[in-house]
Symmetry: C2
């Protein structure tokens, strides 16, 4: 490749990483806003969250297109190929995070006539603080290619799972105590599950930060001599 093409290629790779960072920022924003609409039962704000999700969807489609074009045009190998594949996967995860936040917002609209109850939403708020921290940390880990920080995110996912399990039981107890709360609590169960799944996506992203650096998924027993590793090594 001549110098001009190499420079354009590097710029395309940098642009792809920049798009992930931008998408990640938007994903953080939408999660934080979705949870805020839930604690305030604010249907107007919920509609804004739903509209914002469409922007994340569009970014994912654009990123996929650019990644495929990059692979076809530049035939990247080794680390470059891994970066592009990781960007493709991470954009899928961020798109799903947006969907999960949108689903919380949709439920807020359904339950917006209910009486606000700090007691009921407190657990969901706490869970979402943990999930948001995981999302923030894993996006930092991606931007800084920090494998160690990514590993911390993976390890902390079980704290979210444990809190979710205890919240699930707590909400069932509220349902049993007061049948008038059953509908509200059922929607809160789903909101809690969505947040727990946002944590799972943070973990997926962390696995892809590891993959970018190591060329395999963590805990994978895939032999390093397989075909993709071969092409990654320049074959």
């Amino acid at each position: 490749m001549n110098e001009h093409i190499v420079k354009a290629y590097d710029e395309e790779l940098t642009a792809l990483a920049g798009q992930i960072t931008e998408m990640g920022g938007l994903a953080e924003e939408i999660v934080s806003e979705a949870v805020l609409t839930l604690t305030r039962l604010d249907a107007d704000k919920a509609n804004e969250v739903i509209a914002k999700d469409a922007r994340i969807d569009k970014m994912q489609t654009d990123l996929e297109e650019q990644a495929i074009l990059l692979i076809a045009r530049r035939q990247p190998v080794a680390g470059d190929l891994r970066d592009i594949v990781a960007a493709l996967r991470i954009s899928n995860d961020l798109e799903r995070v947006g969907d999960l936040a949108k689903n919380i917002a949709k439920r807020v609209i359904i339950i917006s006539d209910s009486v606000q109850s700090k007691k009921l939403t407190l657990g969901v708020e706490h869970l979402s603080e943990m999930a948001q921290m995981q999302l923030k940390n894993v996006l930092d880990a991606y931007a800084q290619r920090d494998e160690e920080m990514a590993n911390l995110v993976r390890e902390r996912d079980e704290e979210i799972d444990a809190l979710y399990t205890s919240l699930f039981r707590e909400l069932l107890t509220y349902m049993m105590e007061d049948p008038r709360q059953i509908s509200m609590c059922a929607h809160l169960l789903f909101c809690a599950k969505n947040i727990e799944r946002i944590g799972d996506h943070a973990t997926n992203i962390a696995e892809n930060v590891y993959y970018m650096e190591r060329g395999e998924m963590p805990g994978s027993d895939r032999p390093k001599s397989d075909e993709l590793s071969a092409i990654e090594n320049g074959a």
Copy 2:
């Protein structure tokens, strides 16, 4: 390209489509088995379903790898590129279908000590019959590149959504009537949601069958003159 390379390339494309068909068959199987374990509250069988999901995950990873290699090595354009991109996306959807079935199986293990109740599970069974039919039809539409059948799948998704909504209300009513059923019904709510989401993935696959034929997603306002269309047209 010489004749030998063209033949190898065609074989690779056919192999990719074959893998989607195989993954699809496995996804149909796992959904049907997950629902069966639910109606029978069969924890042993549920463990088999969980194990089977790992096979679908592995197939998705393999397919992604092969698709990326194909794009890098063959620099496909037009219809071939669309087929590969669609296969990538469809394999993601099928992998998610497997996850949702696995999640049903995990819940069966949790509630397996409950008393079997045909009344409670009947609605979930009915919903899953519709979702399974959608999955079967869309996989046929993919194999036969049948855009019309794919459109029918997209149209029928709202029937699943409507049935899910009525089932959600029904399960809440059972919870209010008998607080001892709250835990069981909460898990059934999630199982019903999982099945409704399997229907969404069938719709996503249908959209990709359309994309394979038309070069754009249905209802998309993306201009045909964008970059990916340009390379698809051989630029």
